[in-house]
């Protein structure tokens, strides 16, 4: 059982412990407490449902970052066949924070790319906590070009706190690497699906996230800035990250209302980390459906729709010239 309990899970954990104790007691004695156990189990289920359907954004942030949550390679192992990882940007090095390669999925060859976080400190150091350098984005673009050449669909899995803020990253053009990916992905001549599986951290996430279909897992987050970063700037206090999480509209449920993502993929009750196989099955089902829907369009139409989709994101007011002049007259009257 996982040892990383989140604070809001405690009531459930306690109830589950109680059930466990009762069970042990029943098996060791002659008393039949089956009915009591059953009642408690029902109660636990109800409690779980109640807690997990009313999660605050800050709680989803915790779930999205849960170390036991399945990461990119877990999904690849669970739902894709014959994966071969392809390495390196051919210019500088191989960024371990982004993995990519070819596999069979739904009876066709697919290129899959994703940020790779670790499940423990050792792995996280190896993967730089899923924070890519420019060479990671350049490797991703190189692989997408390969997919384009053979018309393989591209699936990207997003799970990063952000692009790495470091000296080498800046020296090698972190901003340029991300910008180029945004531009090149916008016209890539094959179908692109992005799924946020955990943490969608800002430009570092979007750098592999321009797609025909953008999906998010139920407890994933996608944000312009980390709640901690936002709190440090706007509240001048990192401890206000909870407030910032509430304000940023970073949950899948909020973002789909902004029409920035296309679909929220459900997770097992209690979160993806509770049942890797189940969440992977749900992910596979959604990816297959979206891939087959995209098959009904020509490549040209796919690229055109991708452009249109991004072209229309944004909300603003446009005051007409008349409105301005009316306001001017009113000001004049007041004088």
């Amino acid at each position: 059982m996982s040892t990383n309990h989140l604070d809001f899970e405690l009531p459930i954990i306690e109830l589950e412990k109680k059930i466990e104790e009762l069970r042990r007691f029943t098996s060791n004695s002659r008393m039949d407490l089956c009915r009591e156990v059953e009642a408690l189990e029902k109660k636990a289920e109800r409690l779980k449902r109640e807690i997990f359907t009313n999660l605050a954004p800050r709680q989803r942030v915790q779930l999205a970052r849960h170390p036991q949550r399945p990461h990119t390679l877990d999904y690849i192992n669970l739902i894709m066949d014959g994966f071969y990882e392809l390495h390196g940007d051919r210019m500088f090095s191989d960024d371990r924070a982004i993995v990519g390669g070819l596999c069979k999925f739904n009876d066709e060859t697919v290129l899959v790319i994703g940020h790779q976080k670790g499940s423990n400190i050792q792995e996280n150091i190896e993967r730089n906590f899923g924070m890519p350098h420019p060479e990671g984005y350049r490797k991703a673009l190189r692989l997408m070009r390969l997919a384009e050449k053979f018309n393989f669909p591209v699936i990207t899995l997003i799970d990063t706190p952000g692009a790495y803020p470091g000296i080498g990253a800046e020296e090698r053009g972190q901003a340029e690497a991300i910008a180029r990916n945004l531009m090149e992905m916008s016209t890539l001549k094959t179908s692109l699906i992005s799924l946020v599986i955990g943490e969608g951290g800002s430009g570092g996430a979007l750098g592999i996230g321009v797609a025909d279909r953008t999906l998010m897992l139920e407890n994933a987050i996608y944000s312009v800035i980390s709640p901690e970063g936002c709190a440090a700037i706007l509240w001048r206090d990192k401890r206000k990250a909870g407030e910032a999480a509430d304000a940023l509209c970073l949950t899948a449920q909020d973002i789909i209302k902004l029409r920035i993502i296309d679909e929220v993929v459900p997770e097992p009750l209690g979160g993806a980390h509770k049942n890797h196989e189940q969440v992977a099955t749900l992910v596979a089902e959604s990816l297959k459906r979206n891939l087959s829907e995209l098959k009904s369009f020509s490549i040209k139409e796919i690229v055109r729709r991708r452009f249109e989709k991004h072209r229309h994101i944004g909300e603003f007011l446009e005051l007409r010239e008349e409105a301005i002049s009316v306001r001017g007259t009113e000001d004049g009257d007041e004088k």
């Binding site: 979007l206 910032a244 902004l258 944004g314 446009e318």
Partner: protein, 269 residues
């Protein structure tokens, strides 16, 4: 979104003290020098309108989309309301948003121009900035003119509009792809500071990228980097000269030379 780098305007009515070398420069002299320190070549930050009048032929600039404003789509509540902050910034700067776009003549070259203003919410890109930049590029395509952008943005993607801001990076970058397909010229000028989501989208995608001397340019803010790596940053880190040495920009051009350089470049297309 990047940490703000405070630029204190040290002025006493008669003139200003250079932020870099501390030299006191009389107001008239400073104007004549285009706000460049005569002693150390420090480039003071300029507003968007100042930059336009510096480059375009008098009376030729026609502004577009000047009445587009943000309407606080997330109903964002920080220590202060975003909608209040916008009104405050509008009053402070006399601008409606952090970018001015339009058309005009640079010498005899008709161009489409977009200039962000780092004084308005740190020049950050929300829906309005993204939309106006995109429309500017579309206007360039429609009229088959070169596009010139001048970026000054310490803020990157504007956090008060959440994911809507982040997606402006994708939007502006995809319209640059369209510009490329149409074989139109895009020159991007980077001024102090160009960071975060602006640096990581259209501003880094110019056919030709020019920076002002010593401008701070990068993805992550220096303070965030320092906090992450727990050591001092090298001298001149993320400055225009640093980027130039590493092959990230085409040239560094002083403010006084910029118009001539642009004009001579435009001659070649």
């Amino acid at each position: 979104m990047i940490w703000p780098r405070k630029q204190v305007e040290r002025t006493n009515g008669l003139g200003m003290r250079c932020n870099d070398c501390g030299e006191f420069i009389l107001g008239k002299k400073l104007e004549k020098m285009l706000k460049v320190c005569p002693k150390c070549n420090y480039h003071f930050r300029l507003g968007a309108r100042e930059r336009i009048s510096l480059l375009l032929k008098d009376g030729t600039f026609e502004e577009c989309d000047s009445q587009m404003t943000s309407h606080d789509p997330l109903n964002f509540q920080g220590l202060e309301l975003y909608r209040d902050k916008i009104v405050e910034e509008q009053k402070k700067t006399g601008l409606t948003e952090a970018v001015i776009t339009g058309e005009g003549y640079l010498d005899n070259h008709p161009i489409v121009i977009a200039v962000t203003d780092s004084r308005f919410m740190m020049g950050s890109m929300g829906s309005v900035v993204g939309e106006k930049i995109t429309r500017a590029a579309e206007r360039a395509i429609e009229k088959r003119l070169p596009l010139l952008t001048i970026s000054g943005s310490g803020g990157g993607a504007r956090m008060q509009e959440g994911m809507l801001s982040l997606m402006q990076m994708a939007k502006t970058s995809s319209v640059i792809a369209k510009l490329n397909k149409e074989k139109l010229l895009f020159i991007s000028i980077l001024t102090d500071p160009t960071m975060g989501g602006v640096a990581a989208s259209f501003a880094s995608l110019g056919d030709i990228i020019i920076a002002e001397p010593r401008a701070l340019i990068g993805f992550a803010g220096p303070r965030v980097i320092k906090e992450t790596i727990h050591r001092e940053l090298p001298q001149g880190f993320q400055r225009a000269e640093f980027l130039f040495k590493r092959g990230l920009i085409d040239m560094i051009v002083s403010r006084g030379e910029l118009k001539k350089v642009l004009s001579e470049l435009l001659d070649k297309f």
